[in-house]
Subunit: 237 residues, 2 copies
Amino acid sequence: MRKIDVCLSPELVGSFDLSGKLVVVVDILRATTCMVTALAHDVAQILPVATLEECQPYCQRDGFVTAGERNGIQLAWMDLGNSPLAYTSGDYAGKTVVMSTTNGTLALDRSRAADQVIVGAFVNLKAVTEYVKAQSRDVLIVCAGWKGMVNLEDSLFAGALVDRVEGEFQHETDAPLVVQLMYRQAAADLSGTVYRSAHVRRLHNLGIKDDIDFCLTPSLFSLIPVLQGAALVPLSD
Amino acid sequence: MRKIDVCLSPELVGSFDLSGKLVVVVDILRATTCMVTALAHDVAQILPVATLEECQPYCQRDGFVTAGERNGIQLAWMDLGNSPLAYTSGDYAGKTVVMSTTNGTLALDRSRAADQVIVGAFVNLKAVTEYVKAQSRDVLIVCAGWKGMVNLEDSLFAGALVDRVEGEFQHETDAPLVVQLMYRQAAADLSGTVYRSAHVRRLHNLGIKDDIDFCLTPSLFSLIPVLQGAALVPLSD
């Protein structure tokens, strides 16, 4: 039987064997939600970069849009922050978005040794669930967390995905059961639970309630971003 | 308000500031359950050591008992394995137990920078809860996990403790909420849940059902081991 596991923080990725695996990278608030939303609104590709130094050369360059945040706040020289709502107008169709975020980009970067890396969020949960079920590899869900710490919303997504593939995958460690139990306890009031989280209280102080509500809306898009070389592009059917 | 946090794997301890904190180290199956049980049965002190090399010099030495395991299995040259039931006869009263285990000793070792390090297990849950509430420091629960991975039973203990001090501590990150939600989902059938865990299936294959049932019995003892220099001794009232 295929195996599934969950890495609750990028700091723990080194303990997992990525070879031959399908990795699902998750940073619900807000990097992976942005990635799904951007590509679903016809952005050509996303270049996730780990450092601001790698992002800056694309500033004001034709065909490129720079996006990202540090500690939840947009940097003055960037075109966009980390709000998924910025992409819903379709204004960036055809562009390359160069995206550097605190945790999500790091999680992607540390997952590159996997056989395939896709991007998950509540906004594409159903599509990710179906893809995970339909393919044949072992699966590792890598949560971006918050500065090396476990966070609630990424763990909840991991639990939701583990719960939806129940019976088709064996748990490799206890982490899938931990997040599944937690998700089941929270599922009846997901957004109420997420509003209790430390990270969300931080973001809430930054006045982004609309972002948070959007990030928790399940399965708005059927698109799955996949890492292809250095870029995220839509996974083809 | 005092703060509480949970470190789900010794690999993550470096992300936490331990200074001034009370750390509760947890390795339910079976190191910290052994420590509580041994001291509650009049063992003089426990010397937790990280490596077998540090343990071996005490082998066959008068007044010392060597104890430990690697991958759940006792080593031939040691007096004892990692079963808490070995101590309930009182045969080791007055002795020093030199204990090296896969995960528990490592978690203790990495927690030494804290203001105080105590040892928690389900068998002394009530005593630990009362002590944590009665003192004034911020608290970090350090789960021993399994080879750097998150495990179910240590996370459940952390959730049980967070749940019991609700309202008296602010959560420092999301980890306390994650384990509390998981614990609440599992609380109605704690042992049934634990028997679903990967680690427990591993131990179960080693034929230690009695150990597991003992390790999940709440509040058998009112004793709390505390790290004093290199040794664990009973915390005085």
